[in-house]
Assembly symmetry: C2
Homo-oligomer: 291 residues x 2
Amino acid sequence: MELGKAEEIAAKLRSDILNGMLAAGTKLAPERELSEQFGVSRMTARRAIQALEGEGLVVRYPVRGTFVAGIRERLLVERGREVQSPPGSQAIAAAELRQSGSFLKDMQRLGRKPRVQFLEQSALVAASDDIAAHLHIPKGRLVLKRYRLQSADNLPYRLIESYYPADLFGELLTLDIGDTPLFAWLQERHGLKVTHTQEMLIARLATQNERQLLQISANAPVVAIDRTVLASTGRPVEWAHIIAVAALYMFTYEYDILDWNQEQKHGDTPATDQTSNTPGNQRRATYWDRH
Amino acid sequence: MELGKAEEIAAKLRSDILNGMLAAGTKLAPERELSEQFGVSRMTARRAIQALEGEGLVVRYPVRGTFVAGIRERLLVERGREVQSPPGSQAIAAAELRQSGSFLKDMQRLGRKPRVQFLEQSALVAASDDIAAHLHIPKGRLVLKRYRLQSADNLPYRLIESYYPADLFGELLTLDIGDTPLFAWLQERHGLKVTHTQEMLIARLATQNERQLLQISANAPVVAIDRTVLASTGRPVEWAHIIAVAALYMFTYEYDILDWNQEQKHGDTPATDQTSNTPGNQRRATYWDRH
DNA sequence: GAGTGGTCTAGACCACTAT
DNA sequence: TAGTGGTCTAGACCACTCC
């Protein structure tokens, strides 16, 4: 098999963690100590631990040390049709988007101390190309921008950069609706009922900026989510770009499968196909690229 | 801001890539050359490039070099209700699970050369605890196991480890159904119609083993998917554990939002809550842990 | 002051491949 | 043979926190 030294150490620690020898919460030996134990340089021991960190098996804190993580700490996000808890899962269920202000409520229900931090003052800004396209409004039209960080027990969970058409939500800048869910207010004030959501997910490592804001280290993956919330009329009422700490989340989806015989009923998405086959090297950077 | 040297270099290259100065496919300068240009050690230059790799902006090949990647190469997986192509997206649409054998068909439709490689000979095995629980059968009952690697143009896309109840699919070991979709055959042979699917996703870095099989490097994230496919009777007919190269995928979901007023209609998943609040340090490792 | 992880240096050898 | 990324060494200094 010829594993490298770092991977040998990682494999040893990994199996110790997975078979329970090292229980969740246990503090690992410091890097310098591991390097002595295994007779390697500190950088090699370090890479071993970084590998485990990326796999979500350990969590590292400067000064404090490295600790065994556990999947039980992941926040379970449920989407789609009614979802049953996966057998054996001990993850934490979230009511995300079933109710507004769901992060606060979920965390409170779980006995944690949630915190929402506005990284910028909410303001009306002119819609960029991206935002205009997602909200189906002309470029330059005013939108309400919110940029916030959600944490629980002082542990950052995700960054949310969200945009709302100003004609619907602009007055919220001066109007305090208290605990009223945003979309409940929308329905009362404008008669628009929120009915469905489109999401796009990609997984990648965090950028430097995201690492600082989310307090994670260089090997920690994030899930980048692009979300459009639509009213029953089909009008987009929110577009959000979310960066979630991957190690803290678990996403559950349930969906129907189309009939095997009525293939391509929903179309073979010709627009996407055509563009995807063109080289298109000069494509503008979208939100997916702008980390 | 006080960025480290590695992050300074990464930031420079990142902006060059995102604003188009470095087009997709461009070969980056070798590590040794970059380290000279920026006046840092090779390890520092290397960490800069590894950061970009994790973000999905570049792809590295031993011997060949490092190349600018592009989001246009991601395979777009569409789930849920009818999905519209996201504005500006040039990702590739996949018919995943809308038809069986979808990977082959998708890739062929895109003009790529798909390949499915069986990493183990398919066989009947006794169901472990996990598999039995997911398939709703007693532990030890026979299941058909398949373990395969899907690639396109010799580029590995994902590992699929899948299990099927032997009473339904066992005869496939000796029966060649050719190109017939697996679930179409199921309906004809057993009258079971596949209707919906539950999926769980987590994102993490790949393990050594996964890195070797998927031919990705240490900083590359994967998306681990746990999928149960159910017949209209509610019986699970497939359980699969999928490891997808994160940089090659993009997941799209569309789902309905429940009425804001009928909160908790689907229950607040008490079972999950109760277990999740217990420390539970002695929980058995599940498939989510077994990388 | 001691100890933690974060960063960085200036080398080294390896496997592999294109020429 | 030259050049690539992959791995490793044996140090170093830093910022930060806990004692």
